[in-house]
C-alpha cells in the first residue's frame, strides 16, 4: 500500500490528477487518506457536518477500475472533495446547518453533486455552514449546528461564513477542493479569512437545483480551491444550463486560458484608497504589496469610482423579501426558535412584516445598480479590491464588535452580488499571522479572464501555497 505523503493533502488538482494517472497511489488509497484526515482534523475546527467515507471508497474503487484500463473522465477524476451541507446528497442528512432541519434527508442529489459524480470526483464529506446560510442576519460565529467555524490559521479566530467548513477544509488540507455558496459574501469571505482561492460565479452560471434556497435572485454556488486554475477546473464541470433551475442563465463555462486576453490588453479599475490606507492597519502592507504585484503584471491600472448605492440595505431587504417567503413555514410554526443565534431568529421573524412595496423598491433600485456596473465596465475590464478590509475576527466575540475604523468600504461584496457579477478572491499576504486577500470583480460571464489574471498573480506570489499550522 502506497504511503500518502503530507504534501499530497496540499497538492493542486492538476498535481493530484497526474499522480493518480502515474499510479503513484490508487484512488482508494488517496480517498481513504483524505477521509482519515477530514474525520480526524475536521471536528477540531467544527468543519465537518458528515463524513461520507463508505460511498467515497465505493466511488474510488470505480475510479481505480477506470484508471486501470486507461479510461479518464477529466482532471477531477478521482479527486476527493467536500460540499457545503446545503447541497442535497441522496439518502444522506442535509441539515442546512440548522437544528430544525437536522434530520432532513432528500432522495436526490443536487445538480452540482450530479455533475461532479459524472466526471468521477469523489465526495468525501458534507461541510459545516452557518445555519440557513445566515440569511436572518446572524451575529455570532456559533450560529451553526456544528458550532463556530474555527480558522486553521488560528483557532481562536472565525473561519468566516457562511461556507465555513468549505474554506476550512481546503485550507487545512482536508479536501482537495470544496463547493460553497454565496448569497452575499459567503464564498469570498471564508476564502479570504482562511487563505484559499474562492470563485463566485456569475448569477445563473451554476445550477442551484438541490441547494437550499435563501434568496432566489442572489444565490450562487461556486468552488473554493488551492488556486485560481483549480477554481476554473471545477467551474468548468459544474457550470451549465439547467432547465430545472429557473435562474439558470443557459450558459456553460469553458476553461480556455489560451483565449484569455494578454495582460497588456486588460484594464483593471481600482480605488486608490483601498491600497493606500483604506483598510484596517494590520492589512494595509499586504494589500499595498499585492497592488504592486498586480501592477507588475503589465496590465493597465485605472482609478475608478464604484457606483454609490445603499448596498447593505438593499441586500438585507431583498433577502428579507425572499427568505421570509422561503422559510415562512419554519417561522410561523415556531420551529425557528430552535436556531442557535437569537438575532437570526428575530431577523427571520421580522421578515414576515416586510411590506411588498419595500421589496419591490429594492429590486427596482437593483436595476440601477446593474446599470451602474455596466457603465463602470465600459471603462475597465475588471475591478481590483480587497476581499475584506481586515483579517478574520475572533470566533468568541459577537461579529458586530466594532473593528478598527477604515476609510474604504466593502461595497464590492453586496454590490457585486446585487449585480450578479463574478468575483475571484486570491490570498495576498498575512496580517497578524492571518490571511488577507484581494478580489477581482468582473462583468457577467468573465470568469475565464478573471482566472487568467488570477493565475498570473499566483505565478508571481506563493500566498496560495502557504499552509496553516495544522497538527496532523
Amino acid at each position: 500500500m502506497a504511503e500518502i505523503a503530507p504534501d499530497i493533502f496540499f497538492a493542486s488538482i492538476t498535481e493530484l490528477s497526474a499522480k493518480l494517472r502515474a499510479k503513484e497511489f490508487s484512488c482508494v488509497e488517496l480517498t481513504r487518506a483524505f477521509c482519515d484526515r477530514l474525520e480526524r482534523i475536521g471536528p477540531r475546527y467544527n468543519a465537518l457536518a458528515l463524513s461520507l467515507r463508505e460511498q467515497a471508497v465505493r466511488q474510488a474503487r470505480d475510479v481505480d477500475a477506470d484508471l486501470k484500463i486507461g479510461r479518464t473522465r477529466g482532471p477531477l477524476h478521482g479527486i476527493p472533495y467536500g460540499a457545503k451541507d446545503l447541497l442535497a446528497v441522496k439518502k444522506e442528512p442535509t441539515t442546512w446547518g440548522a437544528k430544525p432541519y437536522a434530520a432532513q434527508v432528500f432522495d436526490y442529489d443536487a445538480a452540482v453533486i450530479e455533475r461532479l459524480n459524472k466526471v468521477g470526483a469523489i465526495l468525501i464529506g458534507k461541510l459545516s455552514m452557518i445555519e440557513l446560510a445566515g440569511g436572518g442576519d446572524y451575529r455570532t460565529a456559533a450560529a451553526s449546528l456544528t458550532g463556530p467555524g474555527l480558522n486553521p490559521w488560528d483557532p481562536t479566530r472565525w473561519s468566516g461564513g457562511s461556507s465555513s467548513g468549505s474554506a476550512t477544509s481546503v485550507a487545512a488540507g482536508l479536501t482537495a477542493f470544496a463547493i460553497g455558496s454565496e448569497t452575499s459574501g459567503s464564498i469570498l469571505t471564508p476564502a479570504a479569512y482562511c487563505g484559499v482561492t474562492g470563485l463566485r460565479p456569475t448569477y445563473g452560471l451554476v445550477s442551484r437545483r438541490g441547494a437550499m434556497a435563501l434568496s432566489w435572485t442572489l444565490d450562487k454556488l461556486g468552488p473554493l480551491c488551492r488556486s485560481a486554475e483549480d477554481c476554473a477546473l471545477v467551474l468548468h464541470q459544474i457550470a451549465g444550463n439547467d432547465i430545472q433551475d429557473p435562474g439558470s442563465a443557459g450558459r456553460s463555462f469553458n476553461y480556455t486560458p489560451q483565449y484569455a486576453r494578454k495582460p497588456e490588453q486588460v484594464t483593471i479599475g481600482y480605488l486608490p484608497v483601498d491600497f493606500e490606507d483604506g483598510a484596517e492597519p494590520s492589512a494595509q502592507a499586504a494589500l499595498r504589496a499585492a497592488f504592486e504585484v498586480v501592477k507588475s503584471l503589465g496590465v493597465t491600472l485605472k482609478e475608478i469610482k464604484i457606483p454609490d448605492f445603499p448596498y447593505g440595505a438593499m441586500v438585507g431587504t431583498i433577502i428579507a423579501g425572499e427568505a421570509g417567503s422561503i422559510f415562512e413555514d419554519l417561522i410561523r410554526s415556531g420551529r425557528v426558535d430552535q436556531l442557535a443565534d437569537k438575532h437570526q431568529i428575530a431577523g427571520l421573524k421580522a421578515m414576515l412584516d416586510l411590506p411588498a412595496i419595500e421589496y419591490q423598491r429594492a429590486m427596482r433600485v437593483r436595476s440601477l445598480v446593474k446599470q451602474g456596473f455596466r457603465d463602470l465596465f465600459l471603462n475597465c475590464d475588471m475591478v481590483l479590491t480587497p476581499s475584506r478590509l481586515g483579517p478574520a475576527p475572533k470566533a468568541a466575540e459577537p461579529l458586530d464588535t466594532p473593528r478598527p475604523p477604515t476609510k474604504s468600504r466593502e461595497s464590492q461584496i453586496p454590490g457585486g452580488n446585487l449585480a450578479g457579477l463574478p468575483a475571484l478572491s486570491l490570498p495576498c499576504g498575512l496580517a497578524d499571522g492571518l490571511p488577507v486577500a484581494i478580489s477581482l470583480l468582473g462583468r457577467p460571464f468573465y470568469e475565464n479572464q478573471l482566472v487568467a489574471i488570477g493565475n498570473l498573480f499566483q505565478k508571481q506570489t506563493d500566498w496560495h501555497r502557504r499552509r496553516p499550522p495544522v497538527r496532523a
Binding site: P246, T317, M351, E358, R361, L368
Partner: protein, 59 residues
C-alpha cells in the same frame, strides 16, 4: 362553533388586548427597526417611474 357578531367582537377584542399585554421581544423589535431603517435608506435613492424590478417573469 356558532358565534354572534357581538360574541366574536368580544373574543377579538380580548385577543388583541392579550397580545398588547405580551411583553415584546426586544430582539424582534430591533430586527424590525433595522428593516425599517433599510427601507428608508433605499427610499432616498431617486427612482425613475419607468424603472422595472431587476427580475422579470419568464413565460
Amino acid at each position: 362553533m356558532d358565534l354572534s357578531r357581538r360574541q366574536l367582537a368580544a373574543v377579538l377584542t380580548g385577543a388583541a388586548a392579550a397580545q398588547a399585554q405580551t411583553p415584546s421581544d426586544p430582539d424582534l423589535e430591533a430586527a424590525r427597526q433595522l428593516q425599517r431603517v433599510a427601507a428608508q435608506t433605499i427610499a432616498r435613492v431617486p427612482l425613475p417611474m419607468t424603472t422595472e424590478p431587476a427580475v422579470h417573469f419568464k413565460a
